[in-house]
């Protein structure tokens, strides 16, 4: 990350609009650069000063009454049914508008089709949202170095702890013989519901295993996002999502063992 880029990202950072991976990267940069920290402090102060001191112009009390009274209760709507894009049209006489309304309309039609197509491509699927959420959870745990609410390498401690706090009982496998050591478990909130997170360790790599009851069995999938490997599979009506900085092959081996 260059200084220029870091300075730009500070804005999204103080506005709470930076994604977890970039936040992590920027915070590493902040830790090393006193000048960047100072710039960050100044930005926060300025933002605060504007919020505190800039005039917020509340509407004059008579204006709302005047406008409420001006909202027609008459039959205007039956004359011409308004269209949802109509407000884009500038207010003005129809005659003046007629000259360019046809080319503008065809342009708008093309733009609309492009937009709808783009929308289909851009709208994040549920999988994409879950990917972002589990990744964010993993990065957050890394940032504050707090991976588990219950620390134990004993599956018979972790499982009841989680079961007591959830509406389901996640399977907890002991894979220490294969070099994947259970270190604990925590709760998190994914897809607007509480889920179990089993925390395993392989050498210095932490692996988060998110588990929740699955309605539909989804195909196994593996992807890499911001340097983290993410793998998902489903077994016995449970959905498993693995997030780690462990190599793809090892994570895949681990997933296969969990699935057995």
């Amino acid at each position: 990350m260059t200084n220029e880029e870091a300075n730009m990202l500070l804005h999204a950072y103080i506005d709470g609009e930076l994604d977890p991976a970039k936040t992590l990267e920027l915070e590493a940069h902040l830790a090393q650069s006193p000048a960047l920290r100072a710039a960050c402090g100044r930005l926060r102060e300025m933002s605060e000063a504007i919020r505190l001191k800039a005039d917020y112009h509340t509407a004059p009390s008579d204006l709302e009454a005047r406008i409420r009274a001006a909202i027609p209760a008459g039959p205007e709507r039956s004359l011409a049914r308004p269209t949802w894009w109509g407000w884009l049209r500038p207010a003005g006489s129809l005659a003046a508008v007629a000259d360019w309304v046809r080319p503008a309309a065809s342009f708008a039609a093309v733009a609309l089709v492009t937009w709808v197509v783009a929308l289909g491509v851009m709208r994040p699927s549920e999988d994409e949202r879950i990917t972002q959420e589990v990744l964010a959870s993993h990065v957050r745990a890394t940032l504050v170095n707090r991976f588990y609410d219950v620390a134990s390498s004993d599956q018979h401690t972790v499982k009841p702890w989680l079961s007591a706090r959830l509406a389901f009982s996640p399977p907890v496998a002991d894979l220490s013989a294969s070099g994947f050591e259970l270190i604990g478990g925590r709760l998190d909130y994914i897809r607007a519901q509480p889920v179990a997170v089993l925390v395993y360790k392989r050498r210095q790599h932490v692996i988060d295993v998110f588990v929740w009851p699955a309605e539909a069995q989804k195909a196994e999938q593996m992807l890499t996002r911001d340097g983290f490997n993410i793998e998902r599979f489903a077994r016995n009506d449970m959905s498993f999502w693995l997030v780690s900085d462990l190599g793809r092959d090892e994570l895949n081996d681990f997933a296969r063992m969990l699935a057995e």
Binding site: R42, K53, Y56, A59, E64, I67, R68, W87, L88, P124
Partner: protein, 206 residues
């Protein structure tokens, strides 16, 4: 840089759905429609006026614009998809532009980026502007003096506390542009307050 900044924004790939629900029940009477409009839209009346007031920089103009925008919003209420606040503010903003172009052509500054030169920055020197010492009047004048495209993102972010996604929708620009405009708005503002304090000799520097 813009690309890198874009990809770093969490909410980008999440546009407001085009047709989320049909917001117009088929057998709604006019008074029901009016009541629904008042419930959904009028809570954002202050936000509408605040934006119009900051964009027109004048109370009477802001009143006219808000009145026109709210009536237009009512006429095209069936087009409301998603949240009411960004929807209304987008209409208010468009009404401001139309209104300013018609009534204050000389004052209307294009909403294009690039026309603004930044003064050389000495932000990293010891002569640092401490924002806590911003004089209230000076700050308001400096914001009012910002070019419109920077002023609007700053107002929407700091005074309305809107997300980049909503601001992008209102200003009709990509999220990356919201971020770069916000960055420039804050830079320009710091420069402007600093310059004003030098001229007036006010002790805003620490």
């Amino acid at each position: 840089m813009t690309l890198a900044a874009d990809s770093a924004l969490l909410h980008e790939a999440n546009p407001v759905p085009l047709r989320q629900t049909d917001s117009s029940p088929p057998h709604e009477t006019l008074s029901e429609r009016k009541r629904r409009f008042e419930q959904l839209v009028l809570p954002h009346f202050d936000a509408a006026y605040n934006l119009a007031r900051w964009l027109t920089r004048n109370d009477q103009d802001a009143r006219d614009v808000v009145q026109e925008a709210v009536l237009r919003a009512y006429r095209f209420f069936d087009g409301l998809r998603g949240e009411a606040k960004p929807w209304l503010l987008a209409i208010v903003r468009n009404s401001c532009l139309t209104w300013l172009a018609a009534n204050r052509p000389a004052k209307t500054v294009g909403f294009e980026d690039g026309a603004v030169e930044l003064l050389p920055s000495d932000e990293d020197g010891p002569d640092v502007l401490a924002a806590r010492n911003f004089d209230r009047r000076m700050l308001n004048e400096a914001i009012a003096g910002l070019p419109a495209q920077f002023r609007e993102v700053l107002i929407l972010r700091e005074l309305e506390d809107l997300s980049y996604k909503d601001i992008a929708r209102i200003a009709d620009v990509p999220i990356g542009t919201v971020m770069s405009r916000l960055a420039r708005a804050r830079r320009l503002l710091a420069e402007s307050v600093r310059a004003a304090s030098r001229i007036s000799g006010t002790q805003v520097l620490k």
